[in-house]
Subunit: 338 residues, 4 copies
């Protein structure tokens, strides 16, 4: 159920509706909007009666939400959300370009790459300090030391930082050092981590799981939002299929599907989505053309020596060319970038 | 093995090489190029010795082809092929837009749609007279009567016709009435039909099977070319995965993969690739952005009454808008359309 | 719609119902049963009124069939069908074991293998004379010469022959030489071939396509039966997934699903289903345990020299041991062999 | 690298090898065997020289391990592992049957079901106190109260308890109350949770992820073992494919694959693997036939009122019949049950 308040509703009226919801043993989720406030209700086991809420003071309408996801649904919020990451908007008319190496390796290298992607036009910097790796014997990331390097990158380049957390402990450290926390594909249904992210002050960048359906993807976002953190943006990064010409199969059709059903921004990661350098740029262009809110690409200045995922990283000058392509294409899809 | 002739090689020298190949019990496939002729060799069970051919008069070089597909490989022909369909090029700098209804229904309706897509800028007209349908009780197409309607469409609009054949019998009829024959996804590994298409005078439009790998797709094209018909152009139309937000999962990464390995043009069919009208236009744009040689889209002026696949057909004015998008985008990917 | 005749209905009454159906422009499919005759109706575009048929003489009941497949449905025929292949039953209490090499190679080798599998307890002999191969340059089978070898195998061993047809031409030759015609996975939706098989006098062994859903599989069988050939038996042979530890993923759950929805027998092919010799025997056992009507396994006496699919063929003595396992297991699932 | 000690090697010699490994900055994993002790080495970045270890006192041989997984590999331990769960063996000649409801609901119901499955022959009891659910609004399990009920079930029935943990906090609680901890499919690559399980005193029951390859599955087990907990047993529970006739596609071919590559026991869960009651029993039989070390099935005495996964639970008397089937089948695959 979604309670839509009148545009002139007072704080007191809003408070009254929330109190009533809580008195019924339910949970209220106030969603402030540009014109009016809406209040989502969750926790009911059967259907609620709209009349029960429409009689309250300041309420314009009570609407049944028909999807299993509630708070992330377009039914609840018709306009697309814009998430602020370190002062930069994600969603809205401006495209977002996230770039950086797969992992933080050394301070010098990380800074050098960051300066290049900043100069080329990146909006946010990415690099993993905590790396979920298939093998326990692979490089697992620099941990806290990596986060400190990232904090320095931000000071030096002004680029806000997006980096992955893999558990409670790393989440707390990421919160201390970064501007947005990434939940990776392998943790998309790590519900404890999602709930923890829902209590974070940071925006959350949620990547689609390797075999997640659209419903499961939006429900994972709902886990975060239902805990009170509305700052969620999504990422398509390829799904697992029989196809062997790319590492994963990038499923661009999910972009208009998400746009249709949800108000959350969605970006595309063609680096993990293809796993091969020569496909990153064409698929990044395709992602913009299909209507994504931006892209995340891995950039490394010496990919053959990268400690992880070297084959999918593009070079800094390839990245600069890609930014040019994106800017040229932005106008054609009603977007802009600088 | 590929024999590359000197650019000044005479007809007689070329004939001499072919004779030698045949004398060895092998098959020769002369491939005339702008500057020089190459001759593919197939039919050998083990590796051949380049020296055996390099000593022949007029031969510049004999190259081992490392892929299982030979004649469709970029190793054999470095420049992209351009296929002529009713006088219109497919491949090369100009993008190709194929449009029309799923099936030929009535002459009036087919003509009306054809006039609209011609006016909007379509290059080729599509509509099925032979429809492979999951159920034996579904509309199976008008057959020969449908082909006659298509021939009239060509006379009236000037649009060359691409239409599907499903067996020997329909292939012969399509050859009499159309400009290119389509082999559908369900027949991609109907090897008898592929061989028959390889003996056709018509260009062949080969669609990827629902679970075909890249290698299988190129090998299916090789079946056609190995019979002597070099006029083949390919189509990505979505593969079958667990994802349920679109009818198939459109695998755009196969476009740069095909471009890398083969000289054949490849188009994208976002109508079958998504199965839903609201996704056709964004995915068509993405197809151009990823580097496809064109798109094929289903257009119907009354989709709710279409006899097949209505939910994925776009309306004529949506099509006109899409042509505008494609033209605007063409320059950004080094292509053009009008 | 299915018309169930009274058990005492006369030929004349049956004829009367068929005439009425045809007078309505529909198609009648009489299905004689042990106790009574049923008549399937196809060709209607909307629902039919049961009353229209229940008033006819000799009619007990008219039942709406709710599935897209009609004639292969359990709704139409509650008891499992038993198909006769060269005098041997497929379906019913007795399990069926089909064995033989992938392809007919030489007469000596084929006969030698046939004698061994006959001695070990095989019911039917398999070997391909027409081989659908991914590459046009691979061994494509001996064709007519292969069929002649198979006919000799039958004379010498008494084993009925199951072998694949890939088009009209090979179908006619198979009809002259074999006891059942196989439609392979790649042709499961080659609807022209299915219709042709529906006009054959031979029983048809239909293999599931690489990415066929259950509905598509049963609809493919419906294509055959709707042309009048009720002698169809099915085969699960693995589907294509991301899993790389076997060539295909054998989907044994389809066996009880088919049993629930259809009266057609279903066997399992663990050779193609796994592609690896060491998995054939465990999966063959599992196929019997899950309730399949039998198995088809590839047997070769020198797999390392087989012209196709050597890695998945088991040796004759492994086959003999497998027959022993199947016989031991048969009683546990309410079946028998011998 | 795996160091195989002489069978007469002393504790002191073993200690000496471990000291040497640690002095090189590497990690030693002593693996006591019936006849001799082996010591796995991990943590090396490049290949090690066998000679370096073969000169040490008491060492028979140093063997390079060629697989990415080391400690779970058959190369390291040729005989199958037997895991003790509350005094009951998993692995070895005796089959293991795990049964119980999806979730702990009430104490009465849980006890009633437990008594029935104990009487029918279950070896271990399963029921979730922490339920990972797609929706944040679905029943998430009783938590600690559920574990207390499970502890009571063990006291009353003698059945050891297997139950899922989803994070650090629930893991600690499960360790206090249960006999084995389950890591669910959605957490198969939650590497923090795997490492935590590797430090647990409890055996770990690791379920395959929805799109996990064989390598990823064994690497997940390696994460646990590399932390020192060798008590791991695996579970195939179906993977996600296009097939829609069952909830997941049960991939029984992974059982012989795991047996070939790893010494860990592997069970099969046909309840999640099919999602439908009428398929659970045939697939459970197939699992035994294919060589699994046992099955886990969901049993509920009133499935239509179950709080989760009711459609896949079988009834207590169906379970009793299944135990009878398994016992009858055990001898045929060289196993036993009671």
């Amino acid at each position: 159920m979604l309670i839509v308040m009148e545009s002139a509703a007072t704080e007191e009226q809003i408070r009254g509706v929330i109190d009533r919801i809580q008195a019924l043993g339910l949970r209220a989720h106030p969603i402030p909007g540009a014109e009016r406030t809406a209040i989502g209700i969750t926790g009911n086991h059967g259907p609620l009666d709209p009349a029960e809420f429409e009689i309250l003071s300041g309420v314009q309408q009570a609407i049944r939400v028909t999807k299993p996801y509630k708070l992330v649904s377009r039914e609840v919020k018709a306009s697309g959300s814009v998430i602020q990451v370190g002062g930069r908007p994600v969603g809205g008319p401006r495209l977002t370009i996230i770039a950086g190496p797969c992992a933080v390796e050394t301070e010098d290298r990380t800074l050098a790459i960051a300066r290049q992607v900043a100069a080329a036009g990146a909006d946010l910097f990415r690099a993993g300090a905590f790396k979920p790796r298939t093998s326990p014997y692979s490089f697992q990331g620099l941990g806290l030391e990596g986060l400190r390097i990232l904090a320095r990158v931000r000071r030096e380049t002004g680029l806000p930082i997006v980096t992955e957390a893999v558990d409670e402990e790393s989440m707390a450290m990421v919160e201390d050092h970064a501007d947005a926390v990434q939940i990776g594909a392998r943790n998309m249904q790590n519900f404890s981590l999602l709930k923890r992210a829902g209590k974070s002050k940071l925006p959350v960048f949620l990547k689609r799981g390797l075999s997640a359906t659209l419903d499961e993807f939006l429900m994972a976002a709902e886990y975060i939002v239902s805990e009170g953190n509305y700052q969620v943006f999504l990422c398509e990064r390829g799904v697992r299929t029989f196809a062997d010409h790319s590492r994963n199969t990038l499923d661009l059709a999910i972009v208009p599907s998400v746009k249709h059903l949800s108000h959350l921004p969605i970006l595309v990661d063609p680096s993990h989505g293809t796993g091969r350098r020569d496909k990153v740029i064409p698929l990044a262009r395709a992602a913009i053309a299909v209507g994504a809110d931006g892209v995340m690409v891995e950039v490394h200045d010496d990919p053959s020596r990268a400690l992880s995922d070297g084959p999918q990283a593009i070079l800094p000058d390839q990245f600069a060319a890609l930014v040019g392509d994106i800017r040229a294409m932005a106008g054609l899809v009603g977007r802009l970038h600088d």
